[in-house]
């Protein structure tokens, strides 16, 4: 019956393992139910030219990155220089959605324009989501968030939080190349 003495030790090791795994995970990364599902369709005005509209239908047959951001979002400011750099590499087009909370009374359109003038504009087109509804349709809760969308309009990858060099080089670019073949 001596082996019974080792049960507490076994339980303890198990607990430590669970905690070790749990601590390495970011609780803010909620798995998106939208992966491998069609990207929600929308039609919204441009940020710079409100009379023009952008529709997801225009993107059929293209692999593209949809980036949700806002001038109020501090992490977006961190991510921005990388986006500008990646846009210049012309590996895949980046489209931006300027996310404005409906209850936010500031002039987000003007602030966002100034943001792009200051930090550079990586976006092929910048779309303005005036009431946050499209952003909600995409399940955005922690801007910046980016979606890699394939030729059939299906979401293949989602990055919550800023894109990093590692994510761009090792996840987005290889997947985009594969999807473009």
């Amino acid at each position: 019956m001596k082996w019974l003495l080792f049960i507490p030790l076994g339980l303890f090791v198990g607990l430590v393992l669970f905690l070790a795994i749990g601590l390495r995970k970011d609780p803010h990364e909620v798995p998106s139910p939208l992966i491998n599902k069609p990207a929600p369709a929308f039609q919204l005005p441009h940020l710079q030219e409100p009379t023009k509209t952008f529709s997801t239908e225009e993107m059929r047959g293209k692999v593209w990155l949809l980036n949700f951001w806002g001038s109020w979002c501090i992490a977006c400011r961190d991510e921005h220089p990388l986006l500008v750099k990646y846009a210049e590499s012309k590996i895949l087009p980046i489209y931006g959605v300027d996310y404005k909370y409906a209850n936010d009374n500031t002039d987000e359109r003007a602030a966002a324009r100034q943001f792009l003038e200051e930090l550079g504009n990586p976006y092929t087109q910048t779309i303005y989501d005036a009431d946050g509804r499209t952003s909600i349709d995409y399940g955005v809760y922690g801007a910046p968030e980016s979606f890699l969308i394939d030729k059939n309009g299906v979401i293949r990858f989602k990055q919550i939080g800023p894109i990093t060099e590692d994510v761009w080089n090792n996840k987005i670019v290889p997947l985009a190349k594969q999807l473009n073949q």
Binding site: V30, P33, N103, D131, Y141
Partner: protein, 150 residues
């Protein structure tokens, strides 16, 4: 001087808390009640340990507005929950649904309880076997009866 400080401090404490952003005009009490029930079951994604009812995050406010509008449009609670889980996953629900991936979560504790009970019974039975069953002599029985009577 100290007393003035104290009074000033007291006055600061007495200033009523600023009203929340959520100052809404009077609304249909039925919708208000449904809003309360539903948003208390939902998790705010920005501050994850708060319910959607309590959170002051911008996203939470937009989502409350969205839910309220859907209620006014005649959507059922089930439809609204489906709308949210389609976008944010089961994570928004404080009470996760019973399905293959959550069986361990729902039934795990009962399995552990059952194992514990089995072990306990096994232990008790073994213990019983350890105690020898010795028959009483006539004299001992008499004494025992006497003791029980008093």
């Amino acid at each position: 001087m100290k007393r003035i400080h104290f009074i000033a401090l007291l006055l600061i404490c007495l200033v009523p808390a600023a009203p929340g952003k959520e100052a809404q005009p009077a609304e249909d009490p039925q919708i208000a009640q449904r809003m309360k029930n539903l948003t208390q079951q939902l998790r705010c994604l920005v501050c994850q340990n708060e319910t959607l009812a309590d959170s002051q995050a911008d996203l939470a406010e937009d989502l409350r507005r969205e839910i309220r509008e859907q209620m006014k449009a005649g959507k059922t609670d089930q439809e609204i929950l489906a709308y949210l889980t389609q976008r944010y996953g089961d994570f928004v629900l404080y009470k996760p649904p019973v399905k293959a991936t959550t069986y361990l979560l729902w039934f795990g504790p009962f399995v552990v309880l059952l194992c514990g009970l089995l072990l306990l019974f096994q232990y008790l039975r073994r213990r019983k076997q350890l105690i020898p069953d010795i028959a009483l002599t006539a004299e001992e029985r008499k004494r025992a009866e006497q003791l029980l009577r008093t």
